[in-house]
């Protein structure tokens, strides 16, 4: 039965965890401060009280250990969902993620699956100090064997986390911190799959904005402003970086002939670069202009008082749109 509730993204994620714990006795949630505190963003609020310490528990403060223990539990019949407290605090787990989480199925010729989810509160826009705002998706997306997803709405957050937990493959689940408190009506019943499937968030005919996670609201706002200025922008939300939905993205770009990729991460050797390359390879003859990227600068994530200069904003997106070689300009 489908229910609807108005929830923030953090609440939607909490609900997804609670429903998964309820529905599947093999699901376990663990990490730093996820127990009685409910996580620093309260995503695991109330889960230990409701399901007990065997199902949702605090661990020693050690990210490699958290992910490594999750690998073993996933090998032995469980579906662990682990929380890295912040994007930049996940790096000690990088070896476990790259050398084991991503490779176990392949190295055992499919005999050992690792159905596990690594939740990472990620990216900026919250005035976080050093080491709390990294956009680390490219590291994971570059590693074959991982699924890498980033929801942009509470409804997607709920549905995609349920789907990630049910997936037979390991999923790096990137939660845009600045959207934790965004609210909307969330459908809590089963929904069509979202992992591997991009979605058109706004129809438009002049150019396509391609975004994911925290950049989707920026793209939507830019489209709103452009509309008032007489330009019709389409917005595609990738939702899933790996697997990448070439079909939806390319169909969208072919329909407008122009595109801008919007992402917070630094642009050099990035997911944005990959999107430009693959869309250009596939849609060259439909393009009226080179695809532009609007990304963070190639700098370490700046201090809170400089953040607004770094993050792709509406004006920078619209400047890029203006540069798309319009015949009338």
């Amino acid at each position: 039965m489908t229910r609807h509730e108005k929830l923030s993204m953090a609440q939607a994620l909490n609900r997804a965890l609670r429903d998964a714990l309820s529905d599947d006795p093999t699901v376990v949630v663990f990490g730093e401060d996820v127990g009685p505190l409910g996580g620093v963003f309260r995503v695991t609020d109330g889960l230990t009280a409701e399901f007990g310490e065997d199902r949702c528990f605090d661990t020693p403060l050690a990210e490699s250990g958290i992910v490594g223990v999750a690998v073993g539990m996933a090998m032995n019949g469980m579906r662990p969902v682990v929380e890295m407290q912040f994007d930049a605090f996940a790096y000690p787990a990088f070896e476990q993620i790259v050398s084991h989480v991503a490779k176990m199925r392949n190295r055992t010729r499919g005999r050992v699956a690792l159905p596990m989810v690594i939740r990472i509160p990620y990216a900026g826009g919250i005035g976080g100090v050093e080491h709390h705002c990294d956009s680390s998706e490219a590291y994971y997306a570059h590693t074959p064997g991982l699924h890498v997803v980033a929801p942009s709405t509470p409804a997607d957050a709920y549905a995609m986390l349920r789907e990630a937990i049910a997936s037979p493959d390991p999923v790096v689940f990137l939660e845009p911190k600045k959207l934790y408190w965004s609210k909307e009506e969330v459908e809590l019943g089963p929904r069509p799959p979202a992992i591997g499937r991009a979605v058109v968030r706004r129809e438009g005919t002049d150019a396509t904005l391609i975004a994911y996670g925290p950049s989707v609201p920026v793209a939507l706002e830019a489209a709103e402003v452009a509309d008032r200025e007489g330009r019709s922008l389409q917005v595609v939300d990738l939702r899933s970086i790996v697997p990448f939905d070439d079909e939806t993205v390319c169909a969208a770009v072919r329909s407008t002939g122009r595109a801008v990729v919007v992402a917070e991460a630094s642009g050099f050797a990035s997911v944005s670069s990959e999107i430009v390359a693959r869309v250009t390879e596939r849609c060259f003859h439909s393009l009226a202009a080179p695809i532009r990227r609007v990304t963070g600068f190639d700098i370490p994530y700046p201090p809170p008082k400089y953040e607004h200069l770094h993050l792709p904003g509406v004006d920078r997106v619209l400047d890029a749109v203006d540069d798309l070689q319009w015949e009338d300009s």
């Binding site: 250990g65 539990m73 199925r105």
Partner: protein, 357 residues
């Protein structure tokens, strides 16, 4: 704080039950395993030695890319596998092929990684043996996870997690022991201290009184054992397994042994250690002392060892044609659209290559 330090400290000297000359040690404070258990161990030691030496020879013949031999460490290999029940798990490193085989894995499958036919050659669930871990100590947190999952379900599983002296310097060694102790996970950590991490001697690895002392810092008991005395290993590891199965938590055991050969065939051990040092350990060989104790002529067990060696030679001399589709088949539960495209591209390249011949 949990656990008092006195209870956690290892003995001053490694536990030995049969000395290097094959004599039982007086006042060892522990019972010797019975003769049937020791005969079984001797048979396996001889097979393990033959496996090590056969694999080493196959590298020279170009049939294996490389082989990290456990020649001289066979007592640790055999005891680690023999103290486990069927439902238990073994987490090996790359030097632990003999333990993997003793656990029941086909030796040809156990050597698949080094032959180059694939990464892990066996089904880890068949004998409950995890894949060989190459990045040091990274398998130890997995061992804790397997044990913790079993404990949550109330299963009596114990996990034997192997690592070397070099591996104890890695962060994952620390994290695994800490997690295991906090979670009271039924894991027995066995360090085979063979004195060298490739070329680097133990003194460059740690300033601890012994590697077993590291357990104190995590609140888990440490013990030191003569790694060339299979009787002592069976006793110490066996007790640790019983203890873990009874819910008394993890234990850290350091076995003092020696890597008699180079790190792998690609290594030149003469650059960093003297022949006399190696020679000194020859007199402490695990097979020599056990056959002396049992007064058994080891030739009695040679037939089985030769049968295994022949099986290994046959398997490794058989070339398996690589299946290009396998490259893409198991990256995910089902290939992404991009991997399907790439698989098709490779298949097309190969078809055209055949057509052009």
């Amino acid at each position: 704080m949990t656990g008092d330090a006195d209870h956690l400290l290892p003995s001053d000297t490694p536990v030995t039950l049969i000395d290097a000359h094959g004599h039982p040690v007086a006042d060892a404070g522990r019972a010797l395993p019975d003769d049937a258990a020791l005969r079984r161990a001797l048979a396996s030691l001889i097979t393990a030695r033959r496996l090590n030496d056969q694999a080493y020879a196959l590298v020279r013949q170009g049939r294996l890319a490389v082989y990290p031999s456990s020649h001289g460490q066979e007592a640790c290999q055999i005891a680690a596998a023999q103290v486990l029940d069927e439902g238990d798990w073994l987490f090996p490193t790359y030097r632990d092929t003999a333990a993997v085989v003793e656990r029941g894995v086909d030796p040809v499958e156990a050597l698949t990684l080094l032959k180059g036919d694939w990464h892990c050659g066996w089904d880890p669930y068949e004998h409950r043996v995890a894949p060989h871990a190459t990045p040091l100590a990274t398998q130890l947190p997995h061992a804790v996870g397997v044990a913790h999952a079993a404990r949550l379900r109330g299963e009596p599983t114990v996990v034997m997690a192997l690592c070397g002296d070099g591996g104890t310097s890695e962060g994952d060694f620390h994290e695994a022991l800490n997690f295991a102790a906090v979670l009271k996970a039924p894991v027995v950590f066995l360090i085979q201290n063979n004195e060298y991490a490739i070329s680097v001697p133990l003194a460059r690895q740690t300033a601890a009184p012994s590697l077993a002392h590291k357990g104190v810092g995590y609140g888990l008991p440490g013990e030191r054992v003569d790694g060339n005395d299979v009787a002592a290993l069976l006793s110490v590891l066996g007790n640790a397994v019983i203890r873990a199965r009874a819910g008394e938590g993890p234990q850290l055991i350091e076995a003092h042994t020696y890597r008699m050969q180079a790190h792998t065939n690609a290594d030149d051990a003469t650059r960093y250690r003297a022949a006399a040092d190696v020679e000194a350990w020859t007199g402490r060989d695990p097979i020599v002392r056990l056959s002396a104790y049992l007064s058994i002529d080891e030739t009695a067990f040679r037939a089985e060892a030769e049968r295994v060696a022949e099986h290994v030679r046959d398997g490794l001399n058989r070339d398996i044609e690589p299946d290009p589709a396998q490259l893409f088949a198991s990256v995910y539960s089902s290939p992404t659209p991009q991997l399907r495209e790439q698989a098709a591209q490779l298949a097309d390249e190969l078809d055209r290559e055949v057509a052009a011949r």
